[in-house]
Symmetry: C2
Subunit: 172 residues, 2 copies
């Protein structure tokens, strides 16, 4: 089956994809420069900053990795001195915590991320930024399809700058 309606799409659709791609490329490259790990590593660090003591199992769900994949990710972060495994109340689980070094790195990652996003918006006036913000919020409201998707989509967010989050009910 072919999709006839695609022909009627306006250019906004494609521009949205292009912008997402261009930004993602740049944000990934920032991350690689700040800390030479890829994949879900940055997300793990940022999420653990919001939710100290999180278990591997919950982190796994937020990052959408397999359990072994998450265990190995934490292994690497532990080797790097970014994350510590501590005892959890539930003796089966481990409580994941950022080290001091991890918290510093996290701040750096978030700062760089916001700088890059900010730079992308340089060309807009204050009014244009507000209008864009409202439209982005509207799109974001409809995006997540599950409860976990709400956590996932906000896994790199800066809570400080995201006042009035359009995706309610996703506190970890």
């Amino acid at each position: 089956m072919r999709y006839a309606y695609i022909d009627e799409m306006d250019r906004t659709t494609n521009l949205l994809g292009a912008l997402a791609l261009g930004l993602t490329d740049r944000l990934k490259s920032d991350m690689k420069t700040t800390f030479d790990r890829s994949g879900e590593t940055a997300a793990a660090i940022i999420v653990l900053g919001y939710a100290p003591g999180l278990s591997v199992e919950i982190l796994r769900q937020v990052l959408d990795l397999s359990h072994p994949g998450t265990v190995r990710l934490i292994d690497r972060l532990e080797e790097d001195g970014i994350v510590e495994r501590r005892r959890a109340e539930d003796g089966r689980a481990v409580a994941l915590h950022l080290t001091r070094k991890g918290s510093k790195l996290r701040q750096k990652l978030m700062d760089r991320r916001l700088e890059t996003l900010e730079a992308a918006l340089m060309g807009l006036s204050t009014d244009e930024r507000m209008i864009l913000g409202d439209l982005l919020a509207k799109v974001l409201t409809n995006l997540p399809e599950t409860e976990m998707a709400k956590h996932r989509i906000c896994r790199l967010c800066s809570v400080r700058t995201c006042t009035d989050c359009p995706i309610p009910g996703h506190a970890i």
Copy 2:
């Protein structure tokens, strides 16, 4: 050094990051479902559709991979019957072409991509889409910093839906 001005950023900055992340997740997952390869594979297929006969070296630059990485990517696509290496005029180079199977796959990848992006915009009115389109175009105009970045940012675009591209001068 800390970044004091970050405190003054409005929420638009963060929302832009969240939307880019959410969309990228979904687009990646689409790709994985349509064709079980990751990384720059989809980009290679789409670019080769626009520029049949492209060399590995130029493709390498558009995808921002190492040369060996690109060679191996093409190896995999050749094994999958998606791409063919043909003789190029320059005897050192190879001319890369999509097979018939590759072209079909490419169409599928682009269709799915546009469907997903389109779905994200469902909640907007026609007017809102146009306003968003103009703002995205404005942001995109300032994004690429090099000539090659212009190619890169458009490597997954649908030329059909991207009328009036805001990033001029990037035909391959």
